[in-house]
Amino acid sequence: MQLNSPLSEVKETIVPAKRSHLAVKLQAAKTIIWRDKYLYLMLIPFILWYLIFAYKPMYGLQIAFKDYSLFKGISGSPWVGFENFERFFRSEYFIRNLVNTFMINLWGLIFAFPAPIILALLLNEVKNVMFKKTVQTITYLPHFISVVIIAGIVTNFLAPTNGIVNIMIEKLGGEKINFLAMPEFFRTIYIGSMQIWKDVGYSAIIYLAAIAGINPALYEAAKMDGANRWKQMWHITLPGMLPTIMILLILNLGSFLEVGYESIILLYQPATYETADVINTYVYRAGLQGGNYEVGAAAGLFNSVVSLILVVVANRLSKKMTNIGLW
């Protein structure tokens, strides 16, 4: 301030004006807050939730850079720099596991992501309410079945000696196939059972809600202009769902390095490691989740950084192309 006195003079003239401006703004904010006070009150538990469960644990992230001992505690454990990351990257299988993780998610994106959208569009066109509700309930129920049971069903269906699929193949004159032991089938089986069959109905709900929110006047106008059902779907329903689709897509990309490893462990075989082994399953087998929290934390941090980058990039692209974004 003392050094550049000419400037401070200028400032002085501006500051009062700014202050009054700020005061007005503050006053306005106060009235708004007071007006919506109940909404803000309702917000408090969620802010607390985030503080306690999302921000406070970040303190523990430092163990990714430590030789962590449960007994010594977070602050008492010695720093080791990037050793935990090195251990995680050094494996011969790191690249394969990374690629497999990406590939499974990519397949999920191509096949499993559009499935509920298509289902919602189809359901939307169904006129018979009874039929619509029945289909919706049937597709929705598998969501509540535990992955262990689904894996059991899949294993039974695909069993080479007495599985129903192979019995059918044999009856049709084909040769029995040991699906679960062949790497080329793993992604199809995993995406088909754990993502599409299990979750298609459940995920479709959110899209159906989006469709319900489209203004009926748009359809009426389109009908007047002579648009058939296909055109209505293409030009009204789909664009109406687009914001929801884009947001879910971006969120989906955010978990691109994460795969439900529990369900993979239930379905994979050493023979299918080639396509099935992902980062999480490998870390699991290494016994790193037993007591080696530091390597787990390093893997988690790596996942988070990559996810953050993906989400930011996806959001930017989406904003540029469709004007829709998370922020």
Binding site: L41, I44, I52, E92, M182, P270, A271
Partner: protein, 511 residues
């Protein structure tokens, strides 16, 4: 007024959040001091094993009985709701409040013992625990097998008795039906399996028999050609089975057996294969734990008339040896009880543990309570009818409900198994013990933390590659090529991996 109405549920929910967080910590820190009501003192114990199958129960009659003899009553602190033992153990350690007695795995008790969570027991045992000391002196190798890398003992182990782990099994009634002799060599074994496959021993007119099946790793059969699945001892050196030349022969043969349908095509994916394959009269031979496997003879005697699934000696391998790769350890099962560094009177605690190594304590842990679960006949304990009949005749389960036969620190008595096991299993176990078919076992080695990291990092790669390749070889999707396989193992750092093992083994021998 309106505002206040809204605030109350909000406040309540916030308080729930806060109290929910601090609840565990406060209850475990309270009453840390040993209570003194009359003569019986109370000590806290943490025991959570087998993912919740064994959680210390204050009502266990065995420990109540022990309290009468020792004047020390135990109170369990492990959360009964948890189904993850490792997690429960880690939470207890991380809380910083270590109960007087902690049950856990050797590896972790040693690790945290060296960091100061548990007391070194060597001196305590020498001074105050005559029964444990006696055992230490009698069983050479006991200390070596259980102590930490720093040469100190941090836990009093649970020691199982009996040497037999897994045995071969075969359908004697099928052999009889096809007029075949019990196979004595690997070639005869092959011929028998082939006959099981082709000559319809179950008599349903279909070739649906599955000659060999197992719930265990198929590579246990490798010893028929002198090959081992993992690490093994030979001439005082630790070797890795898949890295040895014999592995090539074993894999070629197993691949052939698999292709000819002698091995269950679903051997890698099938669960509960004994239940399904024996229950449907399809399975012919197997390798697994004798106690439970022999039990299928009783369970299935109505469903599969004439079933006689008996223990057979391992067929002579190509080198003329009979080998069963598995064996139970003489010195403990890597489980035991440690004493907290925070305990007020270590002397009392070690004396308490010493009781379970005494004749009286050992009997209590093996047979339960006299007059209730067992009685003495001709100087030997015999189970009562009550103990044998309860819980659908599952005696082990029944004894465990008393707190006996749980893996607390004590020395199991094999005689107890003989009292209830199917005679086929008892006979088989005796045959295996007498024949001493067991492969030499690698003792429980201890590693430094640095070595542990090397083993985890390289070991996981090696195991991943081995499992993957072996399945492909056996299922025939890749030809067996050991040279290439060994080259890949070298690239992964195999030499360093095996060096760590042999260094640890040398330390073990020298100590």
């Amino acid at each position: 007024m309106k505002k206040r109405k809204l605030m109350i549920p909000l406040l309540a929910s916030m308080m729930m959040l806060v109290s929910g967080c601090s609840d565990d910590a406060s209850t475990s820190s309270k009453e840390k001091n040993v209570k003194k009501d009359g003569k019986v003192e109370e000590l806290k114990v943490f025991m959570h094993a087998s993912n919740g199958y064994f959680i210390f129960n204050d009502d266990w009659a065995t420990f109540k009985e022990a309290a009468k003899k020792t004047g020390i009553k135990l109170k369990g602190t492990a959360p009964k709701s948890s189904t993850n033992s490792a997690e429960a153990f880690n939470l207890m350690i991380a809380s910083g409040e270590i109960p007087d007695l902690v049950h856990g795995q050797k590896k972790y008790l040693n690790k945290y013992g060296m960091e100061g969570a548990f007391l070194p027991l060597n001196d305590l045992i020498k001074k105050h625990a005559p029964n444990i000391q006696k055992y230490v002196k009698e069983k050479e190798g006991f200390l070596k097998a259980n102590q930490g890398p720093d040469g100190k003992l941090y836990m009093v182990p649970y020691i199982s008795d009996g040497l037999v782990a897994e045995t071969y099994f075969i359908r004697q009634d099928w052999l009889d039906k096809l007029k075949l002799q019990m196979p004595q060599t690997v070639d005869e074994f092959y011929k028998v399996l082939k006959a099981f496959k082709e000559q319809d021993p179950n008599g349903n007119g279909k070739q649906d028999e599955i000659p060999y099946f197992s719930e265990d790793n198929i590579l246990g059969l490798g010893t028929l050609w002198g090959a081992f699945d993992g690490l093994y001892l030979e001439n005082g050196e630790i070797k890795y089975g898949p890295y040895e030349a014999k592995f090539q022969t074993a894999m070629e043969n197993l691949s052939k057996w698999y292709k000819e349908g002698l091995i269950d095509p679903e051997i890698f994916t099938r669960e509960k294969s004994r239940e399904y394959l024996l229950g449907n009269n399809l399975g012919g031979a197997s390798r697994y734990y004798p106690g439970s496997t022999a039990g299928y003879n009783d369970a299935l005697k109505d469903k599969v008339p004439g079933i006689n699934f008996i223990v057979m000696a391992p067929p002579e391998n190509t080198e003329g040896k009979r080998i069963e790769p598995t064996k139970r350890s003489d010195f403990g099962n890597n489980l035991g009880v440690a004493i907290s560094a925070q305990t007020e009177n270590p002397e009392k605690v070690i004396k308490y543990l010493d009781f379970f190594y005494s004749e009286e304590g050992r009997r209590l842990m093996n047979y339960g309570i006299e007059g209730e679960t067992y009685e003495i006949k001709d100087g030997k304990p015999v189970f009562t009818d009550k103990a044998l009949k309860a819980k659908d005749g599952n005696i082990v389960e029944n004894l465990r409900s008393y707190g006996s036969q749980v893996p607390f620190s004590f020395h199991q008595d094999f005689e107890y198994e003989k009292l209830w096991m199917n005679p086929i299993a008892v006979k088989g176990i005796e045959e295996y013990t007498k024949g001493n078919f067991f492969a030499e076992q690698i003792p429980n080695l201890t590693f430094t933390e640095e070595e542990e990291k090397t083993l985890t990092d390289i070991g996981t790669q090696i195991t991943t590659y081995k499992d993957e390749t072996v399945q492909k070889w056996i299922m025939g999707s890749e030809p067996v090529n050991l040279e290439q396989f060994k080259k890949r193992l070298d690239e992964m750092g195999f030499k360093e991996y095996i060096k760590v093992y042999n260094a640890a083994y040398k330390r073990y021998q020298d100590s």
